[in-house]
């Protein structure tokens, strides 16, 4: 190999690997109802046996005084059971206000929690939505972590959720 290429090649080989990414788009449907409230949404990762792996986001009414918004967290039944009930809300970096109708984007980097600690394996991305004076819907998107190549997965809701698009890049 020509010597002039050796240094750049070595630099390339010893450079840190680029972080894997998880990009998520969650569609909150626009609903024509007499009394509309933004849904409570929980997004988390679970193992195929449904045991909890990591929380990604929880959107609920954080503005009510005396933390009254927490009263309806249990309506996200599976999230409450698998994780929520053992948490002290709010959780930094995970909990936040409810989101408006439309496509909500989130992205996660394997340099940071929670992906940093995520062991390789099969997972489901789970999105659960519960709406005041409305219904509840839960969607699962299976994927393998870490990805070997860029992959896209999606799921389609029918009532309280629209399309969930998951893209993972190595």
């Amino acid at each position: 190999m020509p010597k002039r290429l050796l240094m750049p090649l070595l630099a390339l080989l010893s450079a840190p690997a680029l972080a894997a990414e998880l990009q998520l788009e969650v569609e909150i449907p626009r609903l024509q109802v007499a009394e509309y409230h933004r849904p409570y949404v929980a997004i988390w990762l679970e193992q195929p046996d449904h045991s909890h792996a990591a929380n990604l986001a929880v959107w609920y009414d954080v503005k009510l005084k005396d933390k009254e918004g927490e009263k309806w967290l249990k309506d996200m039944r599976q999230w409450w059971r698998r994780s929520g009930r053992s948490l002290e809300m709010p959780v930094d970096g995970i909990s936040g206000a409810t989101r408006a109708a439309g496509k909500q984007s989130l992205s996660f980097n394997s340099d940071d929690a929670p992906l940093k600690q995520l062991a390789p394996g099969e997972y489901n991305l789970v999105v659960e939505a519960a709406r005041e004076v409305g219904g509840r819907e839960l969607l699962r998107v299976p994927f393998t972590w870490p990805p070997e190549k860029t992959e896209s997965h999606s799921a389609q809701g029918s009532s309280e959720l629209g399309q969930i698009n998951l893209q993972i890049t190595p």
Binding site: D66, K67, E70, K74, W80, G84, R85
Partner: protein, 287 residues
């Protein structure tokens, strides 16, 4: 001015369902899984046929409304003693109690996180005998038995009866301090936490009689809402040699569980037989 209905030779000192065929006595909580910092629940208590409908009598509970008066048509009974235990073992007092025509109602303020247990337990003697050619029935405490039942009673049959009725409620994360059994009577020792029940999943419980595994206890589980269907939908099972039962919930909803066991062993005079029963209202959520 109301009339107390007095039954000759009958002093009903305790409130017990007389047999499996009698009306069912139950408590119905407004919720069993709570989130948030300041949850309350409200509980209805009634005696009725159908589950969970109020159509017969309220359950009279001490300190829940004014239980000093007995509506006409009801047998004279002493009000039941309700025990509500918080996750830390302390007692929770019912609030805003009221007694109406068909149900009693009370509120509970769940100030701690964890699992609470509501329990009403009774035990006493039940006797039947012949007097002047007529069958008489008596219910009361062991102390009153000697005073009230004639020593020369014909065809005397005395049964020791115990009953326990429970409801479990969890605020936040469930725990298991209140799941400890007392070691007296027929009890349910949960293997699956009673506030972790989901449709389609199997729950496991262990029946205990005086603290020991109760094999052969007859258990039946009835889903609420039977007014709106033809089939009772009863799930029948019997506890195995280790006292275990497993129930797979067909649907979400409130269920009434009743367990009964009879035995002639370990019964002290004057009783020749014992009948122990246990019931619970269990909430099963949709998955």
């Amino acid at each position: 001015m109301h009339t107390l209905v007095k039954w000759t030779a009958l002093t009903l000192a305790i409130c017990l369902p007389l047999s499996a065929q009698a009306h069912r006595a139950w408590m119905l909580p407004s919720a069993t899984v709570l989130s948030g910092e300041d949850p309350w629940i409200t509980v209805d208590a009634a005696v009725s046929n159908d589950l969970f409908y109020f159509e017969h009598f309220p359950m009279r509970i001490e300190n829940v409304g004014d239980v000093s008066e007995q509506p006409a048509g009801q047998r004279a009974r002493q009000a039941a003693k309700l025990q509500v235990t918080a996750p830390d073992g302390s007692e929770v007092k019912p609030q805003n109690g009221a007694i109406g025509r068909y149900r009693s109602t009370f509120d509970l303020h769940l100030t701690e996180k964890g699992t609470y247990k509501l329990a009403i337990a009774n035990n006493g003697l039940f006797a039947s005998y012949k007097k002047d050619g007529e069958m008489q029935r008596w219910m009361g405490s062991a102390e009153d038995f000697a005073k009230q039942v004639p020593a020369d009673a014909e065809e005397l049959k005395v049964t020791q009866r115990s009953s326990r009725m429970e409801v479990f409620v969890t605020s936040g994360n469930p725990d298991d301090a209140v799941l400890q059994t007392t070691g007296a009577g027929l009890e349910l020792a949960p293997i699956t936490h009673p506030n972790d029940l989901f449709a389609g999943e199997a729950a496991e419980f262990k029946m205990l009689l005086d603290g020991k595994p109760a094999a052969g206890a007859k258990v039946h589980v009835i889903p609420g809402g039977n007014r709106y269907r033809d089939e009772l939908g009863e799930i029948k099972t019997t506890s195995d040699a280790e006292g275990k039962i497993s129930i797979t919930w067909p649907e979400a909803g409130m269920y009434w569980l009743e367990a009964e066991i009879s035995s002639a062993e370990g019964v002290s005079a004057p009783a020749t037989e014992r009948r122990a029963s246990y019931s619970a209202t269990l909430e099963v959520l949709a998955p």
